[in-house]
């Protein structure tokens, strides 16, 4: 509802009541109504046809759940500045775990007030509740907005609320009301055994949570950082220099903690909270745990430079946060006397820097595979996925022999037209990429059977030939399928070129 009003901001206010309708159980029903509509006794759940009959001049808008959800998500993003622990409470709510955060804002009430004021400024109407458990807080928010339950007194605070506040299934709520149990206090007074027998253990658990006797953690939207540091600015910052230097100083704070705990960060995330509420996150990953502030700052600078869509400071960022999303044990490093270790470390950091700039799928190392299929024998994998242990590469040729595998391999073998003397003999001439090559020297065949135990569909055996053309260029061709046994019209492919 407010999403639409916000969009219509600036247009002259109209006197026509606004309602939002959606199809529920094959009938168009109202899912939201504004104050003017409310005054005309239109209510949520009413069929649209009935509403129109009562109030002919009605402004009807179709419900858009996706847009609603997106709006809620962006509000949740913005709420990250209060606590990293924000969960969506569909369809209209947010749950914030502010354990240990309130003192940063003075008091719990001050925190709630600042949140409420900021949202109201944005054109939202806000209800809030605060209690020791999520269920109790939600009940308060919906039915006694503005209430803050003192610690340990949830039961007393929620007792006067109607049973609907428990958010049970419609049927259960209905049955409770029919039984005369109109408030949570009434329900709480009953024997737990009776309630369990009638409504099941789940309902009793919810009741327990509402009364603050049981607790169930909420699941946050974003992964909680293991460590984090943040910087609030009295005046929003815009320039890149300030942003980078503040990341640097945050990294120093973070590294001091990491150092104390003997850990290093593997995955870091910087969050930029814009003064107007938009939030952007940028993450960098490293191959090894690091706790060097200069390195972290450099990785982020690379990442920021490489963004195709640079983060837009708008009117400036008023909060920058740096979190180590994943931290791992890292031993303090003794200064190595072996130059090779230093080299490896420097190369590792170079790979991290390049991965931050270009993406880790572009920074690669070779990794051997235990297979004799040529295209699968050595694969390129992201550099950070390759273990540091010595990799085993085996030569196929024997000593003194020329290479038996081409230096450059085509990912997809390319079809070639081949003229061969005999169907199962080496090629005499072939045509590849529209150029005719006359074969002056041929070596082969080297028969490579496909691994039938790995593939469901049988792949034909390949006969590979090394051939040299009149200019001395060397190619690796294969005939797909054994002549006469697997196929009568074997096809030829170009698989690679030798140096």
């Amino acid at each position: 509802m407010e999403r639409i009003q916000r969009r219509r901001n600036g247009l002259p206010p109209s006197d026509i009541p606004l309602v939002i309708a959606a199809k529920i159980e094959n009938a168009l029903r109202l899912t939201a109504v504004d104050r003017k509509a409310l005054r005309l006794r239109l209510s949520i759940g009413m069929a649209l046809a009935d509403a129109r009959a009562r109030v002919p001049a009605l402004d009807v808008v179709d419900a858009d759940e996706h847009a609603d959800k997106a709006l809620l998500e962006s509000i949740a993003d913005w709420c990250d500045r209060y606590t990293p622990f924000v969960a969506l409470d569909m369809p209209h709510g947010l749950l914030l775990d502010i354990t240990g955060c309130a003192h940063l804002f003075g008091s719990e009430r001050a925190l709630c007030k600042s949140l409420e004021a900021a949202l109201v400024r944005q054109g939202f109407s806000v209800c809030f509740g605060l209690a020791g458990t999520a269920v109790a807080a939600r009940a308060l928010a919906h039915y006694a907005s503005g209430t803050i339950a003192p610690p340990g007194e949830e039961a007393k605070t929620v007792a006067p609320l109607p049973v609907e506040a428990l958010h049970l299934e419609t049927l259960a709520t209905h049955v409770l009301k029919r039984a005369g149990l109109k408030t949570i206090g009434h329900v709480a007074a009953r024997q737990r055994g009776e309630l369990t027998a009638r409504f099941g253990a789940e309902m009793v658990a919810i009741l327990g949570r509402a009364l603050g006797q049981e607790e169930k953690p909420i699941s946050p939207r974003r992964r909680l950082p293991d460590y984090m540091a943040e910087h609030r600015f009295a005046e929003p910052v815009v320039t890149e220099d300030v942003i980078v230097s503040s990341i640097r100083s945050l990294a120093e704070t973070l590294c001091a903690v990491l150092c104390e705990r003997g850990e290093g960060a593997r995955l870091l995330e910087a969050s930029f909270f814009r003064a107007d509420g938009a939030v952007s996150h940028i993450a960098v990953e490293t191959a090894k745990p690091i706790r060097d502030a200069a390195m972290i700052a450099r990785l982020f600078r690379e990442r920021l430079d490489a963004l195709t869509d640079p983060i837009d400071p708008g009117f400036g960022f008023d909060l920058i946060r740096l979190g180590a999303l994943r931290a791992e044990r890292a031993e303090a490093q003794a200064i190595s006397l072996d130059a090779n270790d230093d080299d490896a470390r420097e190369v590792g950091f170079l790979a991290d820097r390049l991965a931050a700039r270009f993406g880790s799928h572009r920074v690669l190392r070779f990794f051997p595979q235990d297979t004799h299929i040529p295209e699968a024998a050595g694969v390129l994998v992201p550099a950070r996925a390759v273990p540091e242990t010595k990799l085993g590469w085996e030569t196929i040729r024997s000593e003194g022999e020329a290479p038996r595998r081409p230096l450059r391999l085509f990912e997809k073998p390319e079809p070639v037209e081949v003229l061969a003397e005999v169907p199962d003999g080496p090629p005499l001439r072939f045509r590849w990429r529209r150029v005719q090559h006359a074969v002056t020297l041929a070596e082969g065949p080297e028969r490579i059977a496909m691994e039938w135990w790995r593939h469901q569909s049988a792949m034909p055996t390949r006969d590979y030939f090394r051939v040299e053309d009149q200019e001395g260029r060397r190619f690796w061709l294969y005939r797909d399928g054994l002549f006469a046994r697997e196929t009568h019209h074997p096809r030829w492919y170009m698989h690679g070129v030798f140096a």
Binding site: D343, R362, A402, E411, R474
Partner: protein, 253 residues
């Protein structure tokens, strides 16, 4: 008196244009080329390699890989390619490298989206002392690769003594601050020859500290170095039955 005459005079007097002494070098293994280069390829400098013909990029790649792994000594070799290179020219193959006696574990590869990114990554890499050599594949003649870019590479290469090889498939040589420039294509095997080691037809067309040359080289896959390709005369002799007859052996049980 023109340059050729001057060279002749110098040669007669056993003088050469004085090379800058004290530059660290690595031998190629090919004796003649090494002596002409005053002991080998200058390390921590820029070298350019061009395929001599349109379809010689594989030969140029092999030649570059050989030179670069020698120049890298025990350190990592940083190889920068562009996205479409794998489709156009084929992906560098680990088994192919192993077969050439080159350890793929020493490679760090980067697939750059374009020439500008490739150059930028190269400059970044050249500040990393853990690298021994860098190969930058830049096909065609993009505007970004001008004299200024070449100078930057030369400067960066000299600072941490990382040797840089610019591999330029389907490109035309342009003015550059390169130390050497090579034009490479594959050399055909001699008639009656068996399938032998990779052979390269190598032309050194620019050498800042000496003369130019033209050789047929072979890559020795066992020792990881270049060597003089055996000439036709030797091949003929081999073909003429120079193989020693194996001694006759009998076994009885």
């Amino acid at each position: 008196m023109d340059i050729a005459d001057l060279r002749k005079v110098l040669q007669q007097k056993h003088l050469t244009l004085a090379p800058e002494s004290g530059l660290p070098r690595v031998t190629t293994g090919h004796a003649e080329a090494d002596s002409l280069l005053h002991g080998g390829l200058v390390l921590g400098a820029l070298h350019e390699i061009f395929p001599a013909t349109r379809h010689a990029d594989a030969a140029a790649t092999g030649f570059t890989a050989g030179l670069a792994i020698r120049a890298a000594k025990a350190k990592t070799l940083f190889w920068i390619r562009q996205d479409y290179a794998a489709l156009e020219f084929g992906e560098l193959s680990a088994t192919g490298l192993v077969e050439m006696g080159i350890d793929p574990a020493r490679f760090l590869l980067l697939r750059a989206p374009d020439a500008e990114a490739a150059l930028r990554a190269a400059l970044d890499g050249l500040s990393c002392g853990g690298l021994g050599a860098a190969v930058i594949e830049i096909p065609a003649n993009p505007k970004i690769l001008d004299l200024v870019a070449a100078r930057k590479l030369t400067l960066a290469a000299s600072q941490k003594q990382i040797t840089v090889f610019l591999l330029r498939p389907s490109a035309e040589p342009a003015p550059s601050s390169t130390e050497t420039r090579w034009h490479v294509k594959s050399a055909p095997s001699l008639p009656h020859d068996d399938w032998g080691a990779p052979r390269f037809d190598v032309k050194l067309t620019r050498n800042r500290h000496g003369q130019t040359g033209h050789w047929i080289m072979e890559w020795d896959c066992d020792d990881g170095r270049f060597r003089k390709a055996h000439s036709g005369a030797v091949a003929a002799a081999v073909a003429g039955g120079a193989y020693p007859t194996p001694p006759q052996r009998f076994a009885a049980f």
